[in-house]
């Protein structure tokens, strides 16, 4: 026996080894958790959580009828659909319900029904539902990215699963010395976006309000950092809930900022003029004969969009600020078609921007030679179609001093398992303008937003704004020409014009109550820019009577600026200063705050609930220290 024992134990025996491996080994498959998507400040935009999927083994379910009844009652789904799944004893695996939360999982586990079991699965959650849904995209049932960044970065986010070979005991439990291998779920890399969540929300809110106000078909916007073309916000309206993903309407899922290629109208004039400056065709003060608003090219007529704009002569700078079609056409004809084409090509209108999202449009622009009327049309944004991102990026080049960058959405990728961080560096494509010409363009674009310019509704108190309006007719998708009464109202600009921090492009599709960009798109731009600057804490730089207040404590008047005398204290207490204590008895704290809103009162609160007593009492005068004590009781 001893010899036999030694023989079995000590000498190698492949057959026995195989049996042993089969009996005592187990392969554990650890599927990886999809990496998170976070905004630029690390706030969650998409996150994967563990869920539990319920399945049944019909062969070992003792009483399929009562089990189906119980499950049907619990999940509120038809009895028949469950019973038909589990009554067939030949089947060994059927899904009952997928992706249940932990509470439900624990409840069902307590039933202790043989034949019902759970499989851990991950579920993708977009906590802000619709926020940046077009950019984030969504995943399918098997957690595969189907659109947006989820699809573009599928391999990075999904990570690699692990297969672990472990010994098991007689009861099938894994014999592990390092239990960590089960706790450490392999994870995909986390992606940090350049998107600012708060700004994204504000942009989406403004777009929604604009669509509602103007009964428009759609709206879209993009905000870039001109220094490196990182995308701070990219939004389209209508929106969809990323959690519902593929169940949403296809038209709602379109990311109009990069997918839609369309004529943008007068916002293109800036590039015609930039090209003319670059090639020394004109200077900002060169006078152009604008033919009293009507310019004939052969049989065709070029007219101004606004019939009141029947100017005889305008400088190049005025051509831009009054958005003169005739003036721009004449400049373009002076430039020649090939130079205009080269300029537009250099600004990136004939190629994809290279943003990290698929499905990007590259624009439509035929190669020269062009007939004169086509050259004229292209110079003011007709006969050339671009994407919103291309346009915003080209304006970013003007804003940053003349360098075109590749826009990007990914700030960094963090691989937690490997401890690696890959940061995106800014990528300059080419210089498109000299610094001097970029400066001239900035000044001229600032004039567009000045009093009397076409974009004056985009002005912001305290900050110089540069930008350009554009009201483009919508191309007829079913034939030649344009749709009657259908316009895309758009505005693109940057703030502050002297030191650009944000390039913002806004487009409103087919607005009904008015369609001029001045009244439709420019105010949306203004609101977005105002919020962005406020959020950044940018110090106002533009000083005028309207936006300066002088403190009453100052005795001497500053000589170099005009000052509107407003006592600062009036800002502290906007309402009529309170002298006597009002009756606050029985009010909740929020009601008290509402009543005293804007008042200069030093409020002291004790207790919880409603006001029981005040000191000084109701009707009594407030002391010099303006102290008001409130005792609250429930």
């Amino acid at each position: 026996m001893l010899v036999r024992g030694a023989y079995l134990q000590l000498l190698p025996n492949p057959k026995l080894e195989k049996i042993k491996t089969r009996q005592f080994s187990k392969i554990v498959q650890l599927s990886s958790r999809r990496g998170d998507i976070l905004d630029r400040s690390g706030q969650e935009m998409a996150i994967s959580v563990t869920t539990y999927s319920l399945f049944a083994d019909p062969k070992i379910i003792k009483d399929p009828y009562s089990t189906a009844k119980r499950l049907s009652r619990f999940f509120d789904i038809p009895f028949k659909s469950i019973y038909s799944k589990i009554k067939n004893k030949k089947r060994r695996f059927v899904w009952i319900q997928r992706r249940l939360d932990e509470k439900t999982y624990k409840k069902i586990q307590k039933w202790d029904i043989r034949g019902l079991a759970f499989k851990e699965e991950f579920s993708r959650v977009y906590p802000h539902t619709q926020l940046a849904a077009h950019t984030l995209g969504f995943v399918g049932n098997e957690q595969q990215g189907l659109s947006g960044l989820e699809r573009e970065y599928q391999s990075v986010l999904s990570g690699d699963g692990k297969r672990i070979h472990v010994q098991r005991d007689a009861r099938g439990r894994p014999l592990v010395e390092d239990g960590h291998i089960f706790a450490q779920t392999p994870e995909g890399s986390d992606i940090y976006l350049t998107i600012d969540k708060e700004l994204q929300f504000w942009v989406e809110k403004e777009l929604r309000q604009a669509v509602e106000k103007h009964q428009a078909k759609a709206a879209w916007a993009v905000v870039l950092n001109p220094e490196n073309s990182e995308i701070l916000s990219m939004a389209s309206y209508p929106v969809f809930d990323a959690n519902k993903g593929a169940r949403s309407k296809g038209s709602k899922m379109r990311n109009k900022v990069i997918h839609d290629v369309y004529e943008v109208g007068s916002v293109m004039k800036a590039f015609t003029i930039a090209g003319a400056l670059k090639h020394n065709v004109v200077e900002p003060n060169t006078k152009i004969n604008t033919e009293n608003g009507v310019f004939r090219i052969g049989k065709r007529k070029i007219t101004e969009a606004d019939s009141k704009h029947n100017f005889k002569e305008l400088t190049v700078s005025e051509v831009l600020s009054y958005s003169s079609n005739v003036g721009t056409s004449k400049i373009a004809l002076l430039m020649t078609d090939s130079v205009l084409y080269q300029t537009l090509q250099e600004f990136g209108f004939t190629e994809k921007t290279g943003v990290d999202l698929s499905g990007e449009g590259k624009g439509l622009l035929s190669k020269p030679p062009w007939r004169d009327h086509l050259t004229a049309n292209i110079s003011f944004g007709q006969g050339v179609a671009v994407t919103a991102l291309q346009l915003a990026n080209a304006y970013a080049a003007i804003a940053n001093g003349g360098v075109l960058h590749q826009p990007y959405l990914i700030k960094e990728i963090r691989d937690i398992d490997k401890g690696e961080v890959i940061r995106t560096e800014k990528k300059a494509i080419r210089r498109v303008l000299s610094e001097g010409n970029a400066k001239l363009m900035k000044m001229m674009l600032s004039q567009v937003v000045a009093e009397g310019g076409s974009g004056y509704t985009a002005r912001i108190d305290g900050f110089p704004v540069a930008g350009k309006t554009g009201t483009a007719q919508r191309v007829n998708p079913d034939g030649r020409g344009y749709l009657k009464g259908a316009y895309i109202s758009n505005f693109v600009g940057f703030v502050p014009a002297n030191d650009p921090q944000y390039v913002i492009y806004v487009a409103i599709d087919t607005p009904k109550n008015g369609y001029y960009a001045t009244t439709v798109a420019a105010p949306v731009f203004r609101n977005i820019a105002h919020f962005a600057l406020r959020k950044q804490g940018a110090t106002p730089v533009y000083m005028s009577d309207g936006n300066i207040i002088k403190s009453s404590r100052e005795t001497a008047e500053p000589k170099d600026i005009a000052v509107k005398k407003v006592n600062l204290n009036t800002w502290k207490a906007v309402a009529e200063p309170l002298q006597k204590v009002p009756s606050l008895k029985g009010l909740t704290l929020s009601e008290v705050l509402r009543t005293l809103h804007g008042q200069d009162v030093d409020l002291h609160i004790q207790g919880r609930g409603k006001v029981a007593k005040s000191q000084p009492g109701a009707g009594e005068l407030l002391g010099k220290n303006r102290k008001l004590k409130l005792r609250l009781s429930e």
Binding site: Q43, E44, I47, S48, V49, T50, E102, V125, P127, H128, T129, L131, R173, P174, L175, V176, E177, D178, G179, H180, I181, F182, A183, T185, K197, E198, F201, W202, K205, D461, G462, L533, R534, T539, P540, M543, G546, N547, I548, I549, K550, S551, R553, E554, P558, I561, V563, L568, W571, S590, L593, R594, H597
Partner: protein, 99 residues
Amino acid sequence: MSKKQVKTLKPFLSIVILMSFLFVFAFIKMENRRMGYSFLKLAKKEKQLRNLKRDKRVKLAQMMDPDRVRVLATRRLPMKKASDGQIIQMTGDGIAVIQ
């Protein structure tokens, strides 16, 4: 102890040492298994806590949703959207600039 006594004790001592060795070996093996199980249990607990942490992160993100914060601020608290000119920047030169 005489040499003879030592000689008679030797086989006995050898057996005792061998037995002790086997006993210690078995004990260590068992202890290793036991620790493996408790480690596995703790690892599962750790995993559970990690999952819980992720759930809480989702809840926190949902609670901090900008739209939810806006609704709470305007409907439940006496707050309203900052209007034009309400924000004033102090430049430090005795001049306040409306934003």
